[in-house]
Every structure is written in C-alpha cells, then in structure tokens.
C-alpha cells in the first residue's frame, strides 16, 4: 500500500529538501496580535500551579500504587492500578511536554527534574525528544520536517489503534533504546539531534536499560508481575488517555500551512482531563505562543479567541470530526478538515497556492 506515500513523512527523504526549497521549513507562522505588555504578563511563570499539580500527581501515584500492592492478587487492585496506570502512562505525556518547554515552573531545576521522570515514564529519550519537539514547533505538520505527525495520510490505522495500548510505540521505544545503548541514533533523530547532544542520548539509554533490567530481575526473583506493573507496564495498560488527548491536536487537519488555526485544534475539556493533560487542550494557543505556561493558557484563549476558528466544545465533538476525516483520508489523501474563521479574525496565512493544506505529491509541492 502506502509505504511510498508514507515515505513522504520521512525526515530522511526528499520531502525534507522540498519543504526547505518551498519556504515551508522554519517558515513565518501566523500569530494573533497581542500587545507586548499583555504578552509579558501571560508569559510570566509561577511555581505554585505546577508544584500543586505535581504534588497531586505524585501523591496519587504513591497512594494508588500502595493500595494496588496491598490488594495484589485481588480484583480490588484493578481500579487502583488503572488510576496509577493513567497517571503514569498518560499524564506523563503532558508533564514531558510542559516541563520540556521549560514553562511549567519558574525553577529550571524543577522543570528538569519533572522532565526527566516524565521522559522515563512515557519512554521518550529526554534529549532526542526535546529536539524532536523543537522541530514539531518549528515545522508543525510540514511534510518531511515534522517528526511528530501522528495521523498521516493515509493514516496507519492499525498503529493508531494499537497505540491506545502502546503496542507499536513501546516496541519502537525499546528498539530506539537498543540503538542508543549501542551509541547510534535512528535516521530521523540524526536529522534533528546535533552531534554535541548525542552523548547524552547514549548515557540516558544505558541508565534506563539498567532500570528495566532491574525491574525484570525483580519480577523473576519474586516470581511476580508486580514490579513490571509498577515500572514500564503502565506505558501499556495506562497510556490510552494520552492517545485520546493527543489525537485531538492535529489529526485530519491541513498539512504544509503556516497557520496553526488551520492545522491545530483547541478543545474544551473538564477539570479532570485538563489536570491530566495540563491544559494542552488549548493547543492552538500553545502552538502560537509556546512560552505561555500551561496555567495561563485559558487566559490566552480569552485574549485571542476572536481571531481563532471556533473552539471544539468537547472531546466528543473533536472526535466526531476527526474520525470521519481520518477514515476519508484512507482513500482520499487530499481531504482535510477546513476550519472557518469568525468575521473578527485575520485571514488565514497560506504561503502559496500549492500549499493549501493538502498532502500534495512532491512534484506539485515544489512546482
């Protein structure tokens, strides 16, 4: 099927050069106008919200793990491990994200500490994934440039669904871990991780391998799955919520555009989901202004909502749109979700007629 077509998403293929030649790489993205004084207020960080949320996050994990261990062997352990698993295998994604941006805390040390722990939980190398996410922000949904496109055209449906339980991501993570332990990177990583940063990748991989070997050894020694249910396992049985949230970000949206209002969704969520997702549901706002900390994104949304396409009122509303869009893209790669802007908004920032949001063949995109 589509290995050639999906090859267009490779950072090691010709689409990378084509995106550079077309002016899409490191392009001039649209940003809603905000007065400088207000922007400075919105960028100001505070330790309090992240310290509070991290205490709740870690505290709940300790309580649930303790209860799960105490009830091990009984079905009563299941709900505790379910909560523990979601906090470990799903909430770690947003902690990785926010702490990786360096905006969660005022303190750089706290940011880095949470980032390192969250990276281990979500199985993403701290150095490589920092550079990967940096590229995602520079070239969001630009073919051949963005290493974090979840729903390609056509979508790898089995992979998308399997990843609700980490069935593809986890083996890929361990394959990368094995490469890193051996002092090598994947082809995509080699495109965005600078030479000087690579030793950090290899060192971290060796530490993580030692932890996983220790967990497996403990499981064998005690003749119990419990050590693996606590370490590593939640990335399988508790990771589904991070996929539920993550797919709302960009799935089915326009590619090769330089306007986050075209390729990103903001979705209203309840307090529990916003705690687990650390307000990343305000995703258009986050992409436009990545230095605004998670706890100020609702304010930023109020500030610029007149300039954005309408917000999705719920996760359900986002899925009602993205599921049919992704399914249609299986047979029609030119299809994408077209957003409508309110009359108060600035027009879309579309750089050239050929880059109108469709996944175009290489020859057309560079014509």
């Amino acid at each position: 099927m589509s290995s050639d077509r999906l090859g267009r998403y490779s950072l090691a293929g010709p689409e990378n050069r084509a995106a550079v030649d077309a002016g899409l790489a490191n392009g001039a993205w649209y940003r809603s106008p905000i007065p400088r004084k207000r922007m400075k207020e919105l960028m100001r960080r505070s330790d309090m919200p992240a310290v509070r949320d991290t205490a709740i996050w870690v505290g709940l994990m300790v309580v649930c793990a303790g209860a799960g261990i105490a009830l091990w062997g009984s079905w009563w352990a299941v709900p505790f491990f379910l909560v523990y698993g979601v906090l470990y295998g799903s909430a770690s994604d947003s902690r990785w994200h926010e702490a990786g941006h360096g905006t969660a805390f005022v303190s750089r040390r706290l940011d880095e500490a949470v980032y390192q722990v969250a990276c281990f939980m979500i199985m993403r190398d701290p150095t490589a994934s920092r550079w990967s996410h940096t590229r995602h922000h520079t070239d969001t949904l630009v073919l051949g440039r963005d290493p974090e496109i979840q729903a390609m055209r056509p979508a790898r449906l089995v992979r998308l669904l399997g990843n609700f339980f980490g069935l593809f991501d986890v083996p890929v993570a361990f394959k990368a871990l094995a490469l890193h332990v051996g002092g090598r990177l994947t082809a995509d990583e080699a495109d965005y991780v600078p030479e000087t940063e690579r030793p950090k990748v290899y060192r971290t991989a060796r530490i993580w391998l030692a932890i996983y070997v220790g967990a497996v050894a403990a499981a064998v020694a005690f003749g119990s799955w419990l050590p693996l249910v606590l370490i590593g396992g939640p990335r399988v049985y508790g990771t589904f919520m991070h996929i539920v949230y993550g797919l709302t970000q960009h799935a089915g949206m326009g590619e090769d555009v330089l306007d986050h209002r075209l390729n990103t969704r903001t979705v209203k969520m309840n307090r529990i989901n916003r705690f687990l997702y650390w307000n990343m549901n305000y995703h258009v706002e986050h992409h436009m202004f990545p230095m605004v900390p998670f706890h100020r994104l609702p304010e930023l949304h109020e500030e610029i909502k007149h300039d954005l396409a309408p917000v999705y009122p719920s996760i359900w509303a986002a899925y009602k749109e993205l599921v049919p869009a992704v399914l249609r893209q299986l047979r029609d790669e030119t299809h994408f979700v077209r957003r409508e802007l309110p009359p108060t908004a600035q027009p879309f920032n579309i750089p050239a007629p050929v880059n109108d949001g469709r996944a175009l063949p290489l020859a057309t995109a560079t014509a």
């Binding site: 400075k40 960028m43 941006h101 520079t138 990545p290 230095m291």
Partner: protein, 105 residues
C-alpha cells in the same frame, strides 16, 4: 572602524524588557536590565530565525519565544539546548537620554 548608532530613547524600553532595533538591514535587540543598564545583542536567536524581541526577559536572561532558547543578554552566552551557539553582543552607551549601540563598520 566601529560606529555608535542611536537605537532608541531610554524610556522606549521598560525595565527588564527588550525592544527590536533595525539598522542597515540587520536586526538587533536592545535590553534594559532591572538596575537600569542597557545591553544589545543580535536580533535573532542563534538556533532559528526567531526574533528575540518577542521573548521574555527575566533575571538577566532573554528567552526565545519559540523554543525557550535562553541567553545571558549581558554576555551573549547560550544557556543550553536548543541554543548551542552564543548570541553576539554589542557595547552600549547612554547620552542625553538616547541609547547608542556600537556596531562594526
């Protein structure tokens, strides 16, 4: 020989803030520290072509608005990934309420 170029009035920059300054097709950033000293650097982040003047100034550091690349704006020193190359700095002086920066010929 280098030249002193008038960049802005002293009150154009808030305390602990930054403004852009363009000269001869080049972008610069002019900073005012909390103790009322002025500094200047190249206008763009050394990581990618992002204007530093849109970033946050805090505790002697300018943070790039796109990827949180951080520089000590008093020395230009890059403070960690994703910025690995120092940003160029320029000498400044204040005369009669005007901030000047010293640019190469």
């Amino acid at each position: 020989m280098s030249q002193w170029i008038a960049a802005c009035d002293v009150e154009d920059v808030d305390l602990e803030d930054v403004i852009p300054f363009d000269h001869a097709g080049n972008a610069y950033a002019v900073y005012r520290s909390p103790d009322d000293a002025y500094f200047a650097t190249d206008g763009h982040c050394t990581h990618e072509q992002q204007l530093l003047c849109d970033g946050l100034v805090m505790d002697g550091v300018i943070e790039c608005p796109k990827h949180n690349g951080r520089f000590d704006y008093t020395t230009g020193k890059a403070l960690g990934a994703p910025v690995l190359v120092d940003v160029r700095t320029y000498a400044t002086k204040v005369e009669d309420g005007t901030v000047y920066i010293e640019l190469p010929p």
